[in-house]
C-alpha cells in the first residue's frame, strides 16, 4: 500500500504545479475522513480497528477520490464521497476483500450524480491565473465562498470536446483552442504522464500485475485508433484519449484493485480491455465527458462472470475452459 502512495506522488506534484495547493488540503481531509469512517465501520462490525487500519488500503482510497474531484471543491464533497466509498462501497459488501465494486469509484459516481455542478468546477488552465496559496485554498475549501475565483468554472478538455462536438464542430476546427496542449489536453497531459510514470514504477516493482493496466490501455487506445481511422474529424486519436481525463489513473490505480477485478490471468486481460473499450464508448457516445468510473464499475459487476468463463486449464483435462456446475459465481 505504501508503494501505491509513493507512485501517486509524481501526479500530486504535477497537480500542485498546475492547480495550486488545493489538492493537498483535499488529500488531508480525504485521508483523515477515510480513517475515521473506516474505524467507525470496523467498530460497528465488531472488528478490532487497529488491526485493519494498519493495512492502509483505505488511505489509498481516500487519495484516489481526492485526486478525482476538483481541487477546490468544498470540504463536504470529499467527506461525503469518502463516507459513501468506505461505508457503502467497502463495508456494506463485507469489508476488505469482499467489495464487488471499486469503492473509490462508488464514491465518485455518487458525488457525480448527486452534485454534478460541484464536480465540474475544474480550474481553467487556458489562462494563467494566480492560484491562492495554502491559506487561500483552505479558505476556499472550507467556506466555499459564493464568489468564484476567476476561472474556476472551466471545463476539462474532455468536457470541452464533448460540448463542441454537440455544436457540430469538427476536431480540426477545435484544434486551435487553448484547451489543447502538446499532445493532449493542456495540463492534463502532464498529469496523465505523471500517473504513467508512477504506474510504470509500480509495474517495475511488481506491486501490480501487468495484465490489468496494459489491457486497459490497449482497449482504450485500440478503440480510439479505430474511431480515428473511421473519421478523424469526429473522433480523437489514441494518444489523446490515453492522456486525457482519468485514463492513466484508472489504468494503474483503479482497474488494478485486486478485489473488484477478475482473478484469472485471461480474465484480467478481458476485464481490462473491456473497461478501456467501454471508457471510449462512454466518452464518445455517452452522456458524460469521462467514462472511466462507469466503465470500471460496469466491469466490476461482470468480473465474476468473466472469472467463471476463463478458468485456467486443469492438469490432465483436455477441454479448454471448465465451467463449474454450481450456480454460485463468487
Amino acid at each position: 500500500m505504501r508503494q501505491v502512495l509513493y507512485a501517486l506522488t509524481p501526479a500530486i506534484a504535477v497537480y500542485v504545479y498546475l492547480f495550486g495547493c488545493g489538492i493537498l488540503l483535499q488529500l488531508v481531509i480525504a485521508i483523515v475522513s477515510a480513517l475515521v469512517f473506516e474505524a467507525v465501520a470496523l467498530r460497528l462490525r465488531g472488528l478490532a480497528p487497529h488491526a485493519y487500519l494498519r493495512d492502509g488500503s483505505v488511505i489509498v482510497l481516500g487519495c484516489l477520490l481526492a485526486l478525482a474531484i476538483p481541487p477546490y471543491a468544498p470540504w463536504w464533497a470529499i467527506v461525503v464521497g469518502v463516507a459513501v466509498a468506505v461505508l457503502i462501497g467497502k463495508h456494506a459488501f463485507g469489508g476488505l476483500g469482499h467489495n464487488i465494486f471499486n469503492p473509490a469509484m462508488v464514491g465518485y459516481i455518487f458525488l457525480l450524480l448527486c452534485y454534478p455542478a460541484t464536480l465540474s468546477q475544474w480550474p481553467e488552465m487556458s489562462k494563467i491565473i494566480d492560484y491562492p496559496g495554502l491559506w487561500g485554498s483552505a479558505k476556499m475549501i472550507m467556506t466555499s465562498p459564493t464568489e468564484m475565483l476567476d476561472g474556476i468554472s472551466g471545463a476539462t478538455v474532455l468536457d470541452y470536446v464533448k460540448t463542441q462536438a454537440a455544436l457540430m464542430r469538427m476536431h480540426s476546427e477545435m484544434a486551435s483552442a487553448a484547451t489543447f496542449g502538446m499532445f493532449a489536453g493542456r495540463g492534463w497531459e502532464w498529469i496523465n504522464l505523471a500517473y504513467l510514470c508512477g504506474g510504470g514504477w509500480l509495474l517495475w516493482r511488481r506491486v501490480v500485475t501487468w495484465r490489468l493496466p496494459l489491457s486497459f490501455l490497449a482497449g482504450l487506445a485500440g478503440a480510439a485508433l479505430l474511431g480515428y481511422i473511421v473519421d478523424p474529424e469526429l473522433h480523437r486519436g489514441a494518444v489523446f484519449h490515453l492522456f486525457a481525463g482519468g485514463a492513466m489513473m484508472a489504468a494503474f490505480f483503479v482497474v488494478t484493485d485486486p478485489v473488484s477485478s477478475a482473478t484469472t490471468p485471461l480474465g484480467m486481460l478481458l476485464f481490462g480491455f473491456s473497461a478501456g473499450l467501454l471508457t471510449y464508448l462512454i466518452r464518445e457516445f455517452g452522456g458524460y465527458p469521462d467514462g472511466v468510473a462507469f466503465a470500471v464499475v460496469t466491469m466490476n459487476a461482470l468480473a465474476p462472470l468473466i472469472d467463471r468463463f476463463t478458468q485456467p486449464r486443469l492438469y490432465g483435462k483436455t477441454s479448454e475452459t471448465e465451467h463449474p456446475s454450481s450456480t454460485t459465481l463468487r
Binding site: L96, G97, T264, P312, Y315, G316, S325
Partner: protein
C-alpha cells in the same frame, strides 16, 4: 546427458534450495540405537500383522510382521535383539496420536542370517523380481510409501513404455537422494536396468535436478547403458510425479487416473536402490538415508535404521535443546510437524528438518483476490476459489473447483500476500469430505441391514413361530439354572429400572 526435449509444467515457484549445507558431506553411519520402534503401518494400505511375540529373540532381517493383503507390506527387524513390546507408541503424524508398533530392544551384536543372493540378475523372471521386492518390504521411499511390488506388478500387467527414476529432490534442504546418487551410482543404474527389464519398458530415464551437479556426474561416470540421464530445471514442485512426467514426456496424467494408465511408471531413486539390493542380494529394507538439516550447526545425511527414534537421531547430530525450534519430518513446504520426538523414523521419512520458530507469526488477513496464487498452481487450480469454498465449508463448490486434484504442494500458500494457510484449509476440506463419504457408506450399509431385518421379521410373522430363533424367557431362566451372580445382576438391573422410573 541426453538431449531429450524437455517440456514445462504450468506454475511452480523457484525456491532457495538450501542444498549446499549437506550435499557435499558424506553420509554418516550411526551406532545402533538401544530401542527400535517399528510402526505396523509405514505405507499406503492395510497395516501389517505382527508374526512375533513379546519376548521372542530375532535376528537382523527377520520378518516380524506380515502383509495383510495385496496392498500391504511386511516389516523386518533392522537389527538383532529381543521383542520387548507390541503396543501403542507415538508416531510421526499431524494428529500426534499413537499407533500400534513393535518395540525391539537391540543387543548390539547385529547378527544376521545368510542372505539369499540371486544367481544371475539378467535371467531372473519378472515374477521372481516382483516376489523378491514384495518379500523385502519395499515401499516408495520418496515419501508416499506406496508398496513398490504393486507398482511393478501393475507394470508387468499393463504396457509401460517409460520408466522414470525420480532423482529430483525439489524440496529445499533435503539431499538424501543427492547423496545416494553420489555414493551408490552403480546401484542406482543397476536397479533401474533391472526394473526396466522386469516391466519391459522401452525407455528408462533417470531425472536429476540441475542444482545437483555432483550427483549427475557420479551417474555419468558409472557409465549407464540404455538409460537416459536427464537434468531438469529446479522449479518446485517438479519432483511431483505428475509434473515430472509432464516435463520429461509432455504427457499429462488425466485427473483421477494413475501414471500407469498412460504407460508411465515413476519410482524414487532410493526405492530403486532398495529394489536392487533386494533382488540381487535378498537384502530387505531396514535402513535408509535421512537428511538432518535446517537451523543447526552440523547438518548432514545419515544411514538410519528403521525405527530409530527421532530424539536419538537429533542427539547423534549434537542437537539437544529444541524448545525454540519446530521439528519437521520432510521438507519446509510439505513436511509434517513432529509433535513427540520419541516417534521413530520410518520408511517414508526422508528428512528431519529443524527450523527456528518465527518470533511473531504474521496472522492471516482477508483474501484480497489478488490472483497471485493462480499462476503458481502446478495443477491449474484456482486456490482463491477453493479458499472461498473451504472457508465456508461449501463441499459442492469445493468439488466444482476440483479440490481433490490438489497435490498439497504449498505453492499457493507460499505466494499469498495475506499469509493465508491455504493448504491447511484444503486438507481440512478433503478430510471432512472423506469422513462424510465414509459416513454415507456406513449409513447405506445400516439401511440395507435394517431393510433385511424388517424383511426377516415380516417373513417370520407370515410363516409362523416355527421359523427363526427360539425366544428365551427370562423368568424361566431365573428359576432354573441361574447362578448367584446372575441373580444379583438381574436384581441390580431391576433396581436400576425402578430408580429410573422413580419407583
Amino acid at each position: 546427458m541426453s538431449a531429450r526435449q524437455l517440456h514445462t509444467f504450468r506454475g511452480g515457484i523457484r525456491l532457495d534450495p538450501h542444498k549446499r549445507e549437506t550435499q557435499d558431506l558424506t553420509s554418516r553411519a550411526l551406532p545402533i540405537p538401544e530401542k527400535l520402534i517399528l510402526p505396523l503401518q509405514q505405507h499406503v494400505g492395510a497395516a501389517a500383522e505382527p508374526c512375533v511375540k513379546v519376548g521372542q529373540r530375532v535376528l537382523k532381517n527377520d520378518v516380524i510382521a506380515h502383509a495383510n493383503n495385496y496392498v500391504g507390506m511386511r516389516l523386518h527387524a533392522p537389527s538383532s535383539g529381543l521383542i520387548t513390546a507390541i503396543d501403542e507408541y507415538p508416531v510421526i503424524h499431524p494428529s500426534g496420536l499413537t499407533a500400534a508398533c513393535i518395540e525391539l530392544t537391540t543387543d548390539g551384536e547385529d547378527l544376521a542370517p545368510e542372505l539369499n543372493v540371486a544367481d544371475d540378475l539378467n535371467t531372473l523372471a519378472s515374477q521372481a523380481v516382483y516376489q523378491r521386492i514384495a518379500e523385502a518390504g519395499i515401499v516408495g521411499l520418496g515419501g508416499a510409501g506406496f508398496p513398490a511390488h504393486v507398482k511393478v506388478l501393475e507394470g508387468t500387467g499393463q504396457t509401460v513404455d517409460t520408466l522414470i527414476i525420480n532423482g529430483v529432490e525439489c524440496e529445499p534442504y533435503i539431499t538424501c537422494d543427492d547423496r545416494l546418487m553420489q555414493e551408490y551410482p552403480a546401484e542406482v543404474l543397476a536397479g533401474a536396468a533391472l526394473l526396466a527389464r522386469a516391466i519391459d519398458a522401452a525407455t528408462c530415464i533417470v531425472a536429476v535436478e540441475d542444482d545437483m551437479p555432483a550427483a549427475m556426474n557420479a551417474l555419468q561416470s558409472a557409465r549407464p547403458e540404455r538409460i537416459e540421464l536427464v537434468s531438469i530445471p529446479a522449479i518446485y514442485p517438479t519432483g511431483g510425479e505428475k509434473q515430472l512426467i509432464k516435463v520429461l514426456t509432455g504427457r499429462e496424467v488425466p485427473s483421477g487416473l494413475l501414471p500407469i494408465d498412460i504407460g508411465v511408471a515413476v519410482l524414487n531413486v532410493a526405492t530403486v536402490v532398495a529394489v536392487h539390493r533386494a533382488v540381487a542380494s535378498g537384502q530387505p529394507l531396514i535402513e535408509r538415508l535421512v537428511t538432518v538439516s535446517g537451523d543447526v550447526s552440523e547438518p548432514g545425511n545419515a544411514k538410519v535404521l528403521m525405527g530409530t527414534p527421532v530424539n536419538y537421531l537429533l542427539e547423534q547430530f549434537g542437537i539437544d535443546d529444541v524448545s525454540e525450534y519446530r521439528i519437521l519430518s520432510g521438507g519446509p513446504m510439505m513436511g509434517t510437524e513432529i509433535l513427540n520426538l520419541a516417534a521413530p523414523v520410518t520408511k517414508t521419512v526422508n528428512c528431519i528438518l529443524i527450523l527456528r520458530r518465527e518470533l511473531a507469526e504474521e496472522p492471516a488477513s482477508a483474501c484480497i483476490r489478488c490472483g497471485d496464487c493462480v499462476p503458481v498452481c502446478p495443477v491449474g487450480l484456482q486456490p482463491q476459489q477453493l479458499y472461498e469454498a473451504t472457508r465456508t465449508s461449501d463441499i459442492d463448490l469445493a468439488q466444482d473447483f476440483h479440490l481433490f486434484d490438489c497435490i498439497d504442494c504449498g505453492c499457493c500458500a507460499y505466494v499469498c500476500p495475506s499469509q493465508i494457510p491455504l493448504v491447511h484449509y484444503f486438507r481440512y476440506a478433503k478430510s471432512s469430505i472423506e469422513a462424510l463419504d465414509r459416513d454415507r457408506a456406513q449409513a447405506d450399509l445400516a439401511r440395507t441391514r435394517y431393510e433385511m431385518h424388517q424383511r426377516r421379521i415380516s417373513m417370520r410373522l407370515e410363516s409362523g413361530p416355527a421359523v427363526g430363533v427360539e425366544l428365551a424367557d427370562v423368568s424361566g431362566l431365573e428359576t432354573n439354572e441361574l447362578q448367584g451372580d446372575i441373580r444379583a445382576a438381574v436384581a441390580r438391573s431391576n433396581q436400576r429400572r425402578r430408580d429410573d422410573n422413580g419407583i
